[in-house]
């Protein structure tokens, strides 16, 4: 066994990027093999558990025959529109909450109240108010993420060390300049992490929105496949979400490493 592998077993041992990637790949392969075995040995009938091969074939068919790319496109559009809307509103408000007691006092308990409402409970309201078009779905995603994100951003801003702010104050910076040149860069790494996590929630709520009322999108495809017990199609849809999620997450992590080289 090479020396690098031994450290994988040591308590709180060092982590190497290369080996982490390989390990991640291995666990995917293990799950895939178990799934394939379970399907091949017919533990469950194919209506319940189709083989990985069948799912991949179905996924391919979805793309070439049923225009699945369009559904993926519309889902990504919904997620990103709502996510960007949330972020653009939550970042300034969160920073203001950390900066001024009046903003914090006015918004904290209101946000906490809304934050605890389960998103599915808001589905009827968004439909009554906004119908079943794009706006009600985006509104639902926004409701699910904005209020969480505001508090996360406010916390990120509050965690900026007092010393940093005071360096600004004693070099003649005005509050605006402190926010721009100190608070924002200081909180950015943890905020980008929180944005990444919030983007993941958007996908969760998207499926709720698309399952309830939609005629397009990945959630809609999954739901209509369920109606005809096309389990392979359901799983193909789930697989697609997983792949998109994994790819986005890895992309943001990669950007994080590039942008914040100074942290290492």
């Amino acid at each position: 066994m090479p020396a690098g592998w031994k450290s994988l077993l040591s308590f709180r041992g060092p982590e190497r990027r290369g080996t982490t990637l390989v390990l991640g790949f291995i666990s995917f392969v293990i799950v895939l093999v178990l799934w394939w075995l379970a399907a091949a040995l017919k533990f469950l009938p194919p209506q319940y558990l189709p083989s990985p091969g069948a799912v991949v074939v179905r996924l391919y068919q979805l793309f070439v025959q049923y225009g699945f790319l369009g559904d993926i496109g519309i889902s990504i559009f919904r997620v990103w529109t709502a996510f960007l809307l949330s972020a653009l509103m939550a970042i300034p408000l969160g920073i203001m909450m950390s900066s001024f007691p009046i903003v914090n006092g006015m918004s904290q308990s209101l946000i906490d109240f809304i934050r605890y409402l389960p998103v599915p409970a808001l589905v009827p309201l968004t439909i009554i108010w906004l119908g079943i078009g794009e706006s009600s779905k985006i509104a639902l995603l926004w409701l699910g993420t904005f209020f969480q994100l505001v508090l996360l951003v406010a916390d990120d801003a509050r965690r900026v060390p007092r010393e940093y702010i005071e360096i600004g104050l004693t070099t003649g910076a005005k509050p605006r300049q402190i926010l721009r040149s100190i608070v924002l860069p200081a909180m950015l790494p943890s905020m980008v992490d929180n944005l990444r996590i919030t983007l993941g929630w958007c996908w969760t709520y998207l499926i709720i929105a698309e399952i309830v009322a939609a005629d397009s999108g990945i959630g809609y495809v999954i739901m209509s496949a369920r109606r005809y017990v096309k389990t392979d199609e359901v799983m193909a849809g789930i697989l697609a979400i997983g792949i998109i999620g994994l790819a986005t997450d890895q992309a943001i992590r990669w950007l994080h490493r590039r942008w914040f080289v100074y942290m290492t």
Binding site: P161, E166, I167, L169, T170, G172, S181
Partner: protein
């Protein structure tokens, strides 16, 4: 004649509205002249940092007032520079940009002039060849030198240093004390330096104010400049005078440190 800095009958209490109010500073008056290096020496938690922060305008006295160059201190500004023990420089800026940050909000200086000043002070603290390094890649001692360079570059009337070498190892600390004393002598800037380290205080100071345990009072004022030469070197640390001074002050502070501990225990 008016003094450069006058601390007039300053007291400070925290949270007096409730029952658990803490009386931190008890009627302190101090005068500081221009170009002096003054050290506030006292046990941890005695209120010496609070007093210095009030000079910086980062805290307000409960009673009394602080007058810097004829004007009452009401808040922080560019004239009162600060060096902290931790988080003293910004990790997202390179070394040179950290030093330059001291001049960032000055619209009266051209960019080239800011560069020149930043380079000059980086040179003064001996970090010229590290200007393109990230803060997290240099040692703790170097980070403090970056912070000192930034504060000097900002050109304040008074420099306030809150145990800037407190987290460094002994060798590093000695070296930085030497460098700082040298810099102060060259720049003739007024400095207030807060520490609980007696040797550090003696080595750096023109005058030392020894603080009592909380609530802080001045136990004694020691005019080091009458006892030690202005230029200090490492040999001085082994001299008879230095040794005697150190022992005398240690004697003073030892009883205070003990009292301070007892206050902590009673308070808990």
């Amino acid at each position: 004649m008016a003094h450069f800095l006058e601390i007039e009958h300053v007291s400070k209490s925290f949270g007096l509205n409730g029952s658990g109010g803490i009386h931190v500073i008890d009627d302190i008056s101090i005068q500081v002249e221009e170009g002096e290096v003054v050290v506030f020496l006292g046990p941890s938690g005695c209120g010496k940092s609070t007093l210095m922060r009030m000079v910086g305008g980062l805290e307000t006295p409960t009673s009394g007032r602080i007058i810097l160059e004829g004007k009452e201190v009401t808040g922080p500004d560019r004239q009162k520079g600060m060096v902290f023990q931790s988080y003293s420089s910004f990790p997202w800026l390179k070394v040179i940009d950290n030093v330059r940050f001291g001049l960032r909000f000055r619209s009266d200086l051209a960019s080239a002039e800011k560069d020149r000043i930043a380079r000059h002070y980086l040179q003064m603290v001996g970090l010229a060849e590290f200007e393109d390094y990230w803060i997290n890649r240099i040692s703790g001692g170097m980070r403090q030198r970056v912070a000192i360079a930034r504060t000097f570059a900002a050109g304040p009337n008074i420099l306030l240093m809150d145990e800037p070498f407190g987290a460094l190892d002994a060798q590093n600390r000695e070296f930085l004390q030497l460098q700082l004393r040298d810099l102060c002598l060259k720049e003739r800037r007024t400095v207030i330096f807060v520490t609980h380290d007696v040797e550090e205080a003696v080595f750096l100071a023109d005058r030392i104010f020894v603080f009592s345990a909380r609530p802080a009072k001045i136990l004694e004022e020691i005019a080091i400049r009458d006892l030690l030469p202005p230029t200090r070197d490492l040999k001085l640390r082994e001299s008879e005078t230095f040794f005697k001074l150190r022992n005398r002050i240690l004697g003073l502070t030892r009883t205070q440190a003990l009292r301070s501990e007892q206050i902590e225990v009673k308070g808990a």
